[in-house]
């Protein structure tokens, strides 16, 4: 992922590249014209499908041609008797391939607005893979100055020192000039039951962090909720109007409702969700999902306030950002009915 564009790809003075850019801009403006003249409601599924499949056909043709050019260059270089083929020839081949990859990427970019997200993701991945193979090809064809050990030192030193891996610039820890205040929240607790009601409070964002073996009950609505480093906790919350951001939870049961729910670095945890958009996970595994099941006095009204009074069944439409294939991600599953907790009732008149 950290691969860099081959440097010659960004050279803008190359006339061939100029032309490509020019053509690209032409295409862009042509597309705008085409879209402007479209009637506003052309989003019938058949036309989308038509475009998606024609995009995929075009994309995979171009991709195959790039792959075979990479293979060809590699073959030519390995089969030619001497490896001393003119390096500038190699360079121009590589530059051509690189231009082709950039074009492929632009094709994807221009069409992404109608493509299903899975296609966008897998196509992005393919482009990135092509760049990777181009890079390794260029490393093969145009080797850097060979590292060689001086014969002088070989008898004295049995193990030559390996070239030191260069560390990336260490980013100095940010030095906050403003005393960054902590947001309201519950932090650093162990083995406690923590209860909080937002009813009538003006709290906008709330944080739960560094909790171990706690039971947390939050009632009423809030705009944003952050959960950070929770272990072995049960968390029950009323509806959140904006989003819930979760980072680093393990062995937890979380009953949550929100507009958006984003889960990072979760392990072995069960989520009971009501959510308006698709919940997402990243860098997580062993997480299971079930529908929201919380009850307290006044929850109906709170759900309405947050626009979450309807069950959307989105709790099961989980997107795993680390998983690029169409088959089910191994990192999450639907919690089997017989293992689900039945409705959880909590009290709403907690002190606030």
């Amino acid at each position: 992922m950290e691969d860099d564009d081959p440097s010659f790809a960004t050279e803008t003075l190359d006339p061939a590249l100029q032309k490509k850019h020019h053509d690209m801009l032409e295409r862009l403006s042509a597309r705008h014209q085409a879209r402007k003249s479209d009637s506003p409601d052309t989003s019938s599924s058949s036309s989308t499908l038509e475009s998606t499949s024609s995009f995929l056909a075009k994309f995979s043709d171009a991709r195959r041609s790039i792959e075979s050019r990479i293979a060809e260059s590699r073959f030519v270089s390995s089969s030619s008797a001497s490896s001393s083929t003119d390096p500038s020839k190699h360079k121009s081949d590589l530059a051509d391939i690189s231009v082709a990859i950039n074009d492929l990427e632009k094709l994807l970019a221009e069409n992404s607005y109608f493509l299903p997200s899975y296609e966008v993701r897998s196509s992005l991945k393919m482009v990135s893979d092509l760049k990777q193979s181009l890079e390794s090809l260029s490393a093969e064809l145009i080797p850097k100055k060979k590292f060689s050990f001086k014969s002088k030192s070989t008898n004295k030193k049995p193990e030559p020192k390996l070239p030191e891996i260069q560390k990336p610039d260490v980013v100095s820890p940010p030095n906050f000039l403003v005393p960054v205040r902590d947001s309201p929240g519950l932090r650093n607790k162990h083995g406690e039951t923590l209860v909080k009601s937002f009813k009538g409070s003006s709290i906008g964002e709330f944080t739960l962090s560094d909790l171990d073996s706690c039971q947390v009950q939050l009632t009423g609505t809030v705009n944003a909720l952050f959960l950070h480093r929770l272990k072995n906790c049960n968390v029950y919350t009323g509806p959140v109007i904006g989003s819930i951001l979760i980072d680093d939870v393990e062995d937890c049961v979380l009953v949550l409702a929100s507009h958006q729910i984003r889960i990072h670095c979760a392990r072995k945890s069960d989520f009971y969700l009501r959510v308006r958009s698709r919940p997402i996970i990243e860098d997580s595994n062993g997480v299971r999902f079930a529908p929201y099941c919380l009850d307290y006095k006044g929850i109906e009204e709170d759900l309405k306030t947050a626009g979450l009074d309807e069950e959307t069944n989105n709790w099961a439409n989980v997107d795993d950002f680390r998983w690029l294939r169409a088959v089910q991600s191994p990192n999450w599953s639907v919690l089997p009915g017989e293992e689900r907790v039945s409705s959880v009732s909590i009290s709403s008149n907690a002190d606030s």
Binding site: L13, V171, L177, R181, Q260, S277
Partner: protein, 185 residues
């Protein structure tokens, strides 16, 4: 004719501007784009890739590229740097814990040569949330004053929910780009 003059010529005809929106995940990029375009913002999923919106703004056509900010997607950002006229960096002003991530990612972005000529608008979003940092505070944390002198930049507080601040921000951005690209009009 050099590449830049070709681009300018075509852009001039179309009065097009290319705007790249980036920022950490959850900062509100997609919500902002839909809000300025007058669309429904009540059901938005985290962006798995990117969206392109073409918006006519004053007498210009903005091509807005909204790229996902989840960790997995950030490595793709650089695929969209080319020919960017305006860069919009969106900050969740209520996410105090990740401000250092936010600063680090912005610093990396600003090192990028291909973005060197673009105007930078920083949107301190979610100002409607009680307890959010003010644009001034965000500016200090991000250490904006120490930015390269040649960069045109501005920070504006906004809320994608109420719409407050969005026009102010985009007005500045569009004017700033226009004054560089369409100077000769």
């Amino acid at each position: 004719m050099g590449l830049l003059s070709i681009i300018r010529k075509i852009k001039k005809k179309e009065k097009e501007m290319r705007i790249l929106m980036v920022g950490l995940d959850n900062s509100g990029k997609t919500t902002i784009v839909l809000k300025i375009n007058g669309e429904d913002t009540s059901v938005i999923s985290p962006t798995l890739g990117f969206n392109i919106k073409t918006i006519v703004y004053q007498k210009y056509t903005l091509n807005i590229w909204d790229v996902g900010g989840q960790k997995t997607i950030r490595s793709y950002w650089r695929n969209y740097f080319e020919q960017t006229d305006g860069l919009v960096w969106v900050v969740d002003s209520s996410d105090l814990r990740r401000l250092d991530d936010c600063k680090m990612e912005l610093d990396n972005l600003l090192k990028e040569e291909r973005l060197a000529g673009s105007s930078l608008l920083i949107l301190a979003n979610k100002q409607d949330i009680q307890g959010a940092l003010t644009p001034d505070e965000i500016g200090k944390v991000l250490n904006l004053e120490s930015m390269d002198k040649s960069r045109h930049w501005k920070i504006v507080g906004c809320s994608a929910y109420t719409g407050e601040g969005l026009l102010e921000g985009f007005d500045w951005l569009v004017q700033d780009i226009a004054s560089r690209i369409y100077m000769l009009d």
